[in-house]
Symmetry: D2
Subunit: 341 residues, 4 copies
């Protein structure tokens, strides 16, 4: 529920309203628009509590109107639900843990897969990420091992011993992919592919939804709503950098926006992808530490046994060794932020 | 073929190279990079001419190296082919005509379809645009009439008497949609959906490919290359506004970029969509006149019999009457730019 | 004055309001916000007419409230005044003429100045542009001839025989510069330098105010308001390209935004700078034709006798010959848009 | 010095070059361009060491050429100098300390100044920030107390007991401002005002240089070079958010870019301004923790005794109480990152 203050409402009116809300045991977030100040009530409101609250606050000085949360993402919005926790195997995302999902951009061979899996597992990763289908900018770039890759992962799943996250690009693949992977990823290019969003929404697997290159947080919430509204509540949002005028880094990692997303907008877990977010190997450890300090729910990071031989994203992939160093640093700093690794 | 000048090459060296190229009957375009000046040779080069040219220019003063056009879009690039001309019914796109494609954002009913079709046809439109599938930002917005819509268009095709342009959103729909519409449109949200791009590339219908919200011209060329590389040469590129910091207009219509696309980058026809490009009814006539002056190949514009009842994009749709006025203005000004309407 | 419709007001309510406004002889512009439709009344409203209008429209169905134009730019806003016309010598800007201001990026020598002036004058330019002070990105780039340049221009003013436009960068230079140049230009980097804006606002010379690299149209209006509010009404706004993610062109020339600025926002003349707006010589003629078709008031274009020897902006400067060709084209097409050159 | 690898150089060639550089005791940073991989040598190189290094690496496999650091910012570049440390009173910026600079957006009265100063000092801030001159977007917004404000600060300087940081907007004010404040701040709007940059470069006070709204890191380096090249080596760079398409936050705080700036580009201290960077009070504590985790040198944060009465930036200002809580959190987490507060 949000309380829209009159344009020109005094700060004392606004703070009185805040206090009143907090007195009822709710958290408050203030949004300042050009015209109005909006006081957002964070937390769940029992349906029978709703009307009395509307009546009460509508009459307070400086209040223009009180409205339930806006429609476009009623299931995804913070006010709709307490924090979502997603269980995959014995891993829980959305609670006190900083879940590290690591692995190569693309599956290249059974050997590469196993050496990557063994490496990230030994270093303490919670899940393995690996690309089977690779949507690329141009037709002449490596497009992934596709069907053959599915067979490889299927055959090695037992040995890998980690939950697997992999990207899906076509609605008709949801069922087959769901048999071999534990979490379906929707990439930046497909973040507004509504047919695909609806289909994973009807599926049984949790979904990592990446923010599109130039997607507002509002639009990301609406894409998530496509999935939730089809019945699948297990969505993890991923900030992976947006496109701006700055080109020193591959993208601009919007950590402030992601913090707003997690703190104000939604009850869904939010994770960070520093590999695509910066595109520069040297910045990944720093960005990851900032992600832990920001209170996010996890990490999606590219790790490759031999980045210099990688068929994609080599320059932004960590070696197993560098990843190991990063993991021990994370274990050292996470407790200060009440996070487990 | 492009001639890369040495960093620091003198302007006289550059102009000598230009003259040499022009002396051989080629057009020239200069691109200035941070490091190097690149002299691009525009026009077709016979394969047996290629090596001699490379040898000749490589030896000239100030030249660093000479290379055939870069791989990522070898079929789409200007140098690959003379101007592409696409025939749909008796309409030709890519030649001297400014092809006006007009109609409602979405099909709403048989009556609405026929009144829109009759209206734009009477005003002189060359083709009808109408949305059967509407990919929307959120799940609660009208998603189009879908299957039912296909039946309606199928039944009325004869009466409409104009070629029809309509958006496609799923690979598996290409065949069915191709039976009822004359040109398949790929929207901004799917502009990097490689599965869809490949599938229309295997199809029989020409394709209008819209530029994504934050797609560089280079990426648009690569998306087009997906289609061409599958065998379909009939692609029309559409500038429909990009996302920037400016919000006074819905998007920023990149007419300068579109001019670069048509003049320097590609042999494919380029059309302009002022409806999405500005999002403001009052700017559509002005933007359209600028598109004619810019030498583009056509227009994709939203026209609705009753914009105030439209299920989508009402605010940016022209009435039949306003569209009629625009058409007569276009007929008046087009000849000055050697264009037919 | 603007009429804010209630969120969810029906299209028939909106059109009734429009008709009522038009019936009173006013032009109307509709702005569609996320929440509300705003019907803006364009044209001057006598003070004694104001309250009756507010009372009348406030009571109509679907109207939320009626407000006089928003404060931040009450002098610059369209509603404040009829079209501003600025006289410089025998040139009038803001009326039926497309005023071409041409010349070199920077003054380099008396010879270069005279050959440029003679060339653009012969080709039919209305004014000469030339940079005496050049604010540059870095300290090691040519910063202009500065004081020495002022002397040169002062000495040759008589022979030049064209009004001169030149950039000013410091408040304390306004008086001295005003003695030698006819129009003071404020560049993109100083577009929000409020001390400089106030000072030229107290000066006697008309001002060309360029839009900053990432300035919204709203902010550009507020910068203009700095000048008008100090008493100088003679301001010309210049669109010169904004910074976006696209790098194929040097900047993104926002012709749609400029059209919104001129049509909806302000009574000040609006001109276009295709040289900085695209940064590519090959696009200048096309962009200029689009500017004429867009109904703008003029052009600011870089022309240099020998671009390959220019100390700045050579790559985007036209030769005198190319500029001559462009001028004859403009003379041919301008009449179709009721413009004189 | 940077080693440019040939386009298409193998990863093994690249890693051999890296090892060779590291073997000589230098740190290495890899930059991946579209065309080439660049291996940058970080750290100081003795002039007599330079040529031998160039000769040696130029001959290695896969190397195209070796060049000393590019001109536009030879003094500001990382390679030019070891980490810059700036002393102000007994505070040192650029070493192991996270320097917190806190205070109100604007000076409003002696009482407000003293209560703000006392509050932030008690909470443990290292310096006081306060605006005397306020460049604003529009002329009708509060412009600061100006001359009167200087007198107030001058009179209270002794009582305040903290070094003072304040913005300067005009070249001719440098001397006078330098008498009352300890660090001169150049704001985002003046970040490319070369006259002002040169003038503070000739001054005696350290300078906080804020990144412009749409300034690339490369341009920020060049603005800093203006100051250093005039003789003032004491520059602190400040990331305060850039303008992007996202509007949920006031600006997009580019922590990844700032990390690149500090790690790869320059030896100057880099601080973060989360107040302007996010514009939302609720995000300031989170952003600050991320800044500590990112290894930055300090913080510029807005704190006001009564934000609801603030004449500017109230919504993004912390109360003294909230600031106090933040400071104690920082003291708890900073040691994990080897930082003192």
């Amino acid at each position: 529920m949000v309380i829209i203050m009159r344009s020109g409402a005094s700060e004392s009116h606004i703070s009185t309203v805040r206090k009143e809300v907090e007195a009822r045991g709710f958290e408050v977030v203030e949004n300042r628009g050009k015209e109005n100040v909006v006081v957002a009530i964070i937390g769940i409101i029992d349906t029978n509590q709703r009307q009395p609250l509307i009546d009460h606050f509508s009459q307070m000085d400086g209040v223009e109107r009180v409205t339930p949360i806006t429609k476009p993402y009623k299931l995804t919005a913070k006010a709709a639900k307490i924090q979502t926790k997603i269980h995959v195997g014995d891993v829980e995302i959305g609670n006190g843990r900083f879940v590290v999902i690591a692995g190569p951009c693309a599956l290249e061979s059974p050997e590469q897969l196993m050496s990557a899996a063994a490496g990230v597992k030994a270093a303490g990763a919670a899940m393995l990420r690996v690309g089977i289908y690779k949507p690329r900018t141009g037709p002449y770039a490596f497009q992934g091992m596709e069907e053959e890759g599915i067979e490889i992962v299927h055959g090695l799943k037992g040995e890998i011993g980690l939950p697997i996250v992999s990207e899906i690009t076509r609605p008709q693949m949801v069922e087959k992919m769901s048999e071999v992977v534990d979490i379906l990823q929707i990439g930046a290019r497909n973040a507004q592919n509504s047919d695909l969003l609806k289909e994973v929404g009807r599926g049984v697997r949790p979904v990592v939804l990446k923010r599109g290159l130039s997607m507002t947080l509002d639009e990301l919430m609406q894409s998530a709503e496509y999935i939730l509204s089809e019945g699948n509540p297990n969505v993890i949002l991923c900030e992976r950098g947006i496109r701006t005028f700055e080109t020193a880094t591959r993208n601009t990692l919007d950590l402030g926006g992601a913090a707003y997303l997690k703190t104000v907008m939604t009850h869904l877990p939010v994770i960070i992808d520093p590999s695509h977010g910066t595109g520069i190997r040297e910045l990944i450890a720093i960005s990851t530490k900032m992600a832990v300090a920001g209170g996010f729910d996890g990490l999606l990071v590219e790790v490759h046994p031999k980045p210099w031989e990688a068929l994609c994203d080599g320059p932004q992939s960590l070696t197993i060794e560098k990843f190991g160093k990063l993991m021990s640093e994370l274990k050292r700093i996470a407790p200060v932020f009440d996070k487990a690794i």
